[in-house]
C-alpha cells in the first residue's frame, strides 16, 4: 500500500508543540518562560524552532528560579499577558509551590482579577528516571481551589486542552505525561479545535464495569479492557482529562450504567485523584453500586529508580485485570 495518501499521525509531544505554536501565532499576548526553551528548544525539544519564529521577547529563557519566574508570570498575567511557564520536569514545580497556591490560586477570589496563565511540565514515570524526575504532582494541585489541573491522555486532547488552557482566564496546571510523548500518536483534525476543560471523555464504551482514569493510565486501561473483553467482561474507560475540577456527570453516568467502578491512577494511593472520584461515587452514585470501588494505583512511596521496582510501583495491565476479576465476582 502506498503511504502517500495515508493521513499523517501526530505524536503527543508534537501535538503539544503545535498547540503552543498556534496560540503564539494567534495571540500576541501569549509568551513563554522557561529554562533552555530558546536556542536549545527545551529539555524535551517541545519548543524547537520557536525562538527563530517568535524571537527572544516571546520565548524567554529563565535562570533556575521557579518561585521567582512563576511569580513573574503571575504579575505579567495580571497585566493582561498570557504567560506559559515551562518547568523542565514537573517535579521542579515544587520550588514554585508558594506562588502558585497562595498568589495565583487565590487572586481572583480576592480581587476578581484574572490570572490567565499556564504552567506546564513533563510528569509521570515509566522512564527509569527515579524519584526526582518521575513524580505526578497533579494530586497536590487538585486540592487547591482556584486552580484547574489538566493531564491529557491522548495526542488529540493534549493539543485541544492546551489550547483551551492558554485561552482560559484562570491559572492552569497542565501536566504532560512524558511517557506518552513519543509513544502515542493519532491523526488530528486538520481544522483548528479546542477541547472543553472540565469535561471527561468515554474513551471506550462498555457495560459491565467502569474504569475511571487519566494520563498514561488511559493506555493501560484500554489494554486491560481489551483483554477483559476476550474473557467476556465489557469495560468502559472514562478518561477524566481534567482532574480538577472533576466531571462528575460523566463519571456518575458511567457508573449508573455499569454499577461497578475501578479507579486507576499512576499517582500514589493516599489522596491521589482516584480517592476523590471514589468519594464522589460513594456519595452521589452509591445507589448504583453493586460492589466496592476498587483503587488500582501506585503505592505510597517515592517513585523508585530501578526497573523492577518501578514496574512494581506503576500499575500494570495485570493489576487492572486482577481488579476487574475481583470486581466481576460481585
Amino acid at each position: 500500500m502506498s503511504t502517500a495518501n495515508k493521513p499523517k499521525e501526530t505524536s503527543y509531544i508534537e501535538a503539544i508543540s503545535q498547540a503552543l505554536w498556534e496560540e503564539l501565532e494567534r495571540d500576541p499576548s501569549v509568551f513563554m518562560l522557561g529554562q533552555d526553551i530558546g536556542d536549545y528548544g527545551g529539555a524535551f525539544k517541545v519548543t524547537e524552532g520557536f525562538l527563530d519564529k517568535f524571537g527572544p521577547e516571546r520565548i524567554i529563557e529563565m535562570p533556575i528560579a521557579e518561585q521567582g519566574f512563576i511569580g513573574m508570570a503571575i504579575g505579567a498575567a495580571l497585566m493582561g499577558m498570557r504567560p506559559i511557564v515551562e518547568v523542565q520536569y514537573a517535579d521542579f514545580i515544587s520550588c514554585g509551590w508558594d506562588q502558585i497556591v497562595n498568589v495565583a490560586a487565590k487572586m481572583h477570589y480576592r480581587t476578581r482579577d484574572a490570572v490567565p496563565m499556564v504552567i506546564r511540565g513533563p510528569s509521570g514515570g515509566g522512564l527509569r528516571a527515579g524519584p526526582f524526575h518521575s513524580q505526578s504532582p497533579e494530586g497536590w494541585f487538585a486540592h487547591v481551589p482556584g486552580l484547574k489541573v489538566i493531564v491529557p491522555g491522548t495526542a488529540h486532547d493534549a493539543k485541544g486542552l492546551l489550547k483551551a488552557a492558554i485561552r482560559d482566564d484562570n491559572p492552569i496546571l497542565y501536566f504532560e505525561h512524558k511517557y506518552l510523548y513519543r509513544r502515542v500518536k493519532e491523526v488530528l483534525p486538520e481544522e483548528e479545535y479546542v477541547c472543553h476543560i472540565g469535561a471527561a471523555k468515554v474513551q471506550r464504551e462498555g457495560s459491565d464495569l467502569t474504569i475511571v482514569t487519566y494520563g498514561a493510565m488511559v493506555q493501560t486501561a484500554l489494554l486491560a479492557a481489551e483483554k477483559a473483553q476476550s474473557s467476556g467482561v465489557s469495560v468502559e474507560v472514562v478518561d477524566l482529562r481534567t482532574v480538577f475540577p472533576i466531571d462528575k456527570e460523566t463519571v456518575l453516568n458511567s457508573v449508573a450504567k455499569t454499577s461497578k467502578a475501578i479507579m486507576l491512577y499512576e499517582d500514589t494511593r493516599t489522596l491521589g485523584i482516584g480517592a476523590e472520584v471514589s468519594a464522589i461515587i460513594a456519595e452521589e452514585g452509591f445507589e448504583h453500586l453493586d460492589g466496592p470501588i476498587i483503587r488500582v494505583s501506585a503505592p505510597d512511596a517515592p517513585v523508585p529508580f530501578s526497573p523492577p521496582l518501578e514496574d512494581y510501583f506503576i500499575p500494570q495491565v495485570e493489576d487492572v485485570l486482577a481488579a476487574i476479576d475481583r470486581l466481576s465476582a460481585y
Partner: protein
C-alpha cells in the same frame, strides 16, 4: 504624559502632606477601633513610616504599579485608595474592595495600579517584577514598585526577583522599608550587613539608602529610580531607614522595643519634620495645619460611619468568584 517633576513643587508637597496626614488619621482611628474590640481582624500600622510610604508611592505615575505589603496602607493613598475603602475592608463588608473575602490589610485595585498583596513575604517582589516584564514586552514606559520590610529580604523571593529584574533589565524599583524590626526580630538577627541596599551589588544594580523619615529625600530618590527605570535603565534597590512606632500588629505591645528608642525616633517624626519644612518654605502655617486636621478627621469619621453602616456579605458569597468564568 504629565510626569511629576524630580524636584517637587508646591502642589506635590501639599499633596504629599495631605496623604501623610490622612494616613496617620486613618491609622489612629483603626487603632482605636481595634482597642475597642470593633475589628475582627488584625491591624498592622505603619506609623512613623509615612515619609517613605507616601514619598515612594507618590513618585509613581498613573500607569505604574505599586505592590505594598501588610503594613503599607498609607502608600496606597496617593494612588487613590480611599479612607472608605480602608474601613470597609477592615470591617469585612460586602462593598469593600475584596468583598469581605480578602484580609483587612490586603487590598488593591488594578485600575489604580495597586496590587493586592498576600501575606507570604515578599511574594510580590516576583509578581511586581512580572508586571515590569509585561511593560517591557509591550514597549510601555511603565514602572513597577514592590515594597517590603527588611525582614522579608532574607527570603529567596527577594534574591530571585532582584536577579531576574537585573538579568532582564526590567523597570522595577525595589523598595525596602527598614523599620528596625521584623515582628520582634531586630535586623542583626536577620542579616550581617547593616544596609540592605548593599545587596544591590549582588545583582549589579544601584543600591540607595535614604532617610526614611525625610519625605523630600524619599520622594527624590524614588523619583530618580522610577524615571531611570522608565527610561530603560533597569532596576534599583532603595532602602529607607525608619522606625516602626507601634507593635508588629494590634495585639503586640512591643515590649521588646526600649522606650528610649521610641522616644528618639519620635523626635524624628516624619510629619512633624515635613510640617517644619513646609512652614519654612512658606507653604504651611498654623491655620493650614489645623485645617488639615479638620479635613482628615472629617474624612475618617465619614469613612468609618460609612463602613459601619455597610452590610456584610451574604454567607453564600463564600463560594463565588473562585474562578473567572
Amino acid at each position: 504624559m504629565d510626569v511629576k517633576p524630580i524636584e517637587p513643587g508646591a502642589k506635590e508637597l501639599q499633596d504629599m502632606y495631605y496623604y501623610m496626614r490622612l494616613g496617620r488619621a486613618i491609622e489612629e482611628r483603626l487603632e482605636l477601633e481595634y482597642k475597642g474590640g470593633k475589628l475582627t481582624s488584625a491591624i498592622y500600622l505603619g506609623r512613623g513610616q509615612e515619609a517613605i510610604e507616601v514619598g515612594a508611592s507618590y513618585a509613581l505615575e498613573p500607569g505604574d504599579i505599586l505592590a505594598p505589603t501588610h503594613r503599607d496602607m498609607i502608600s496606597q493613598l496617593p494612588r487613590g485608595l480611599t479612607a472608605r475603602e480602608v474601613f470597609t475592608n477592615h470591617y469585612a463588608r460586602a462593598n469593600s474592595l475584596t468583598r469581605g473575602k480578602g484580609e483587612a490589610s490586603y487590598q488593591g485595585d488594578l485600575k489604580r495600579g495597586l496590587f493586592a498583596t498576600v501575606s507570604m513575604l515578599p511574594d510580590f517582589y516576583p509578581v511586581a517584577t512580572g508586571a515590569a516584564l509585561a511593560f517591557k514586552l509591550r514597549g510601555e514606559k511603565r514602572v513597577a514598585m514592590p515594597l517590603c520590610g527588611e525582614g522579608a529580604t532574607s527570603r529567596g523571593d527577594f534574591h530571585e526577583s532582584l536577579n531576574l529584574a537585573s538579568v532582564l533589565d526590567l523597570p522595577v524599583v525595589f523598595v525596602v522599608i527598614n523599620n528596625g524590626f521584623a515582628y520582634s526580630t531586630p535586623p542583626f538577627k536577620e542579616m550581617k550587613l547593616s544596609d540592605v541596599a548593599e545587596r544591590a551589588h549582588a545583582y549589579a544594580i544601584p543600591g540607595v539608602v535614604v532617610d526614611g523619615n525625610n519625605i523630600i529625600e524619599c520622594y527624590l530618590e524614588a523619583k530618580k529610580a522610577v524615571e531611570r527605570a522608565r527610561d530603560g535603565g533597569g532596576p534599583t534597590l532603595l532602602e529607607a531607614k525608619t522606625m516602626r512606632m507601634r507593635g508588629h500588629a494590634g495585639h503586640d505591645a512591643a515590649k521588646y522595643i526600649s522606650k528610649e528608642l521610641i522616644r528618639e525616633w519620635a523626635q524624628k517624626d516624619p510629619i512633624d519634620r515635613f510640617e517644619k519644612h513646609l512652614t519654612n518654605q512658606g507653604l504651611l502655617d498654623e491655620t493650614g495645619i489645623k485645617d488639615m486636621t479638620e479635613r482628615v478627621t472629617q474624612e475618617v469619621a465619614e469613612a468609618l460611619k460609612f463602613a459601619e453602616e455597610s452590610p456584610y456579605p451574604e454567607g453564600q458569597e463564600a463560594i463565588t468568584d473562585v474562578y473567572r468564568q
